[in-house]
Symmetry: C2
Subunit: 481 residues, 2 copies
Amino acid sequence: MSEVSTETRTSAIAEFRNAIVGHLGSDVILDDPDRLAPYLIERRSLYHGSAPFVLRPRDTAEVSAIVRHAARLEIPIVPQGGNTGLVGGQIPMDGEVLLSLDRMTAIADVNVDGSCVTVEAGAILSDVHEAADAVGLMFPVSLASKGSARIGGLISTNAGGVGVLAYGNMRDQILGLEVVLPDGRIWNGLRALHKDNVGYDLKHLFIGAEGTLGVVTRAVLKLVPKPHVLDVAMVGVESPATALTLLSMMRAALADALTAFELIPAIGLEIVSRHKPDTRQPFAETPPWAVLIEASTFLPERPMRDVLEQVLMRAYEQGIVSDAVVSQSLGEARELWQIRELMSESQGVLGGSIKHDVSVPVAEVPAFLAEATAAALAVIPGARPVPFGHLGDGNIHFNISQPEGADKAAFLGRWAEMNEAVHAVVRRYGGSIAAEHGVGRMKRDLLPTVRDEVELDMMRAVKDAFDPKGLMNPGRLLPAR
Amino acid sequence: MSEVSTETRTSAIAEFRNAIVGHLGSDVILDDPDRLAPYLIERRSLYHGSAPFVLRPRDTAEVSAIVRHAARLEIPIVPQGGNTGLVGGQIPMDGEVLLSLDRMTAIADVNVDGSCVTVEAGAILSDVHEAADAVGLMFPVSLASKGSARIGGLISTNAGGVGVLAYGNMRDQILGLEVVLPDGRIWNGLRALHKDNVGYDLKHLFIGAEGTLGVVTRAVLKLVPKPHVLDVAMVGVESPATALTLLSMMRAALADALTAFELIPAIGLEIVSRHKPDTRQPFAETPPWAVLIEASTFLPERPMRDVLEQVLMRAYEQGIVSDAVVSQSLGEARELWQIRELMSESQGVLGGSIKHDVSVPVAEVPAFLAEATAAALAVIPGARPVPFGHLGDGNIHFNISQPEGADKAAFLGRWAEMNEAVHAVVRRYGGSIAAEHGVGRMKRDLLPTVRDEVELDMMRAVKDAFDPKGLMNPGRLLPAR
């Protein structure tokens, strides 16, 4: 689009606006700057959005009409859900028009016998949780921003969150999709089938595509039975390697009832107690590493706590676990989870923090942590790694806090340099540099460092096949050619 | 390819052969007719194969070399695994060259901590089962042809089988893939990550693509903990609708421990006792429908049988279940499974049978069965439907046996007409006409009856993006233009 003059673009946008108003009425357009502002703000202030106006269609037919006009006039479109993305995927700039799904919030057809629900892309995650709960079922994807994140965005980023170990990512919850394609046509893939092998399974193309292949407008989501009881343990271990051994033991004993296995370093326990001194500390003496283990049980009759305690006893006898606390009530379970949940926020007590959204194969986590720590310290001696998170998924939040007494701004100024050092280790272990948050604008230019030319060609071939004009969320997910 | 003269084709094939021999030696080529024959036989004799020779590469580099030469000389390639497909996908004809993966059988890197294994496409399913079992884990996809089916074929058809309710289809077991693309380049997507959102998730394109987008050469498969105990019940119910109510109750109580829920009609129980009179019959009086329920438990401590019996008691009190038998030993569990497993084979006692590989949304199974039965009887009055199978997946084997005393050949001669009547009902319920076995050559021309023009265009766009010359398993999966 860079060759189009500003004048031509302005005139095309005016024509686009007129076409939309003529077709759908002015009610779908929002251009009052005050009401526009929240759509353009990125929560970490890394991207500064701008847009001539926001389009707020009420249904799929309106999305289709909008995209059809945009295709004809070659107007680039940025779809947006709850605006909780962290990589600049949903923030319009450079004359892009924002398409918000926030009016399409219907949650219809909660189907108990079929264990599924049909929702519009703008439905908020916590509303989907409530709709499932109301019929005694559960939608298992959950994350911190559940009160604002919308289903379309969760699908387009293949969101992860705290339930991945037991239930998988967003991708694993989707039976069918409806998508408005870049030419405005509607693909009706809203199927509710568990077995279907009629041609290519196209829905997987759009899941995690960050809106670059079309606009997800509706989805059929799977629902699962609701667990009745949670048992949580916090245990001390010597190292990530012993934590991994414990993970294998827990998996063998609890199988799919093991619903969380989270790693926390000693420094993580310490900052939580500094940040929130009234947090109950589980250990008399802080161990080198802690693990939070959760077992979910679907029946009161299932003695999962006994199993959990038996495995911990065996692990203790084998010297794998140094100390352990098992919750005796839901209240105690929540107290233990609180330590894990305070990790991010508590890092503030150490000053600035450089973050990495990475994953490696589960079995490689201990070696990765050792090497990534060494690499980080080689870049900034005295920096304090606070690696924590989903050991069971191989997804560790590898956050690096500044050296004690260092200048925060100077430390954060070395963000890219630190990223590069850590990503180099991720690459050596066949890991991902975009585990949960996607690529967006932030990481698009890093793709050639983690994907070979064959794979980049394949991705470009897919993009060209669906969006030959490059108008759907341009400049996101794929590097410029 | 139809415009290429036979002479040109013959000369291209000779040139192709020379290029392969020059590059890889004659050992990769098999052209002795006796040794060739088994590769060309289709087990139901619906397709009669022919091929100038079979290529049997020993590794991915050899597959790549072969495909590169084929692309240059425009030779169509048909990949084949265990040759167990039922829709003509793997049978070469019309001058197509067969590429067998049967030499690439390595099962490497069984990774206990990471719960995964890397296998070559030619590995036989039962060998993968054994490799997982040897380290105390399980690979959960299983089906009747497990002793010959190979991983590459199972991936390319997204195979289902008896573990789908608890573990999902083949697609759900795959962490990473290696594929030789139609131009001969190798895509290394052999990742072992549980969280990875770096660009489009390309592996899903190849799963279920029936070899039309490239040749799957290796895969990283997930492994799961091995269940320790199986409890099986066989119960009598009044109708598919009451079976569905029981399914909801069992799901709520057993959750993911419910690993099978199979529907059997009264006529199914009767033909099993006629076909194998020494099979132990579970019921004193044959109920209108029976359901086989399996609960798998990972721990001896888990009292799953108690839960199963409690739910059955409740269902009995509510009039949902008329009669029930619960296995008291593994031997009894096997006896109950045997009834289900004998269904297909026992249909022979009724004469000829017309089959349908269909699925509908789980909640729609009762209505579908009523209408499909009426539709079948309208085509052939007196025909005897024997619908049985995976109610929990919405996947019923809707088999129709001939009327008593009818002429078998005349009955089977109306296969297409019967299919059309049943498929019309499947379509009304938003179901699939290719639930487990794929499309192949058999159903490619039916695609326009179940997929709209938008979706067919999308599939063609994908095919053209990866295989613009149309040389990879041509004429399978997609209808001719």
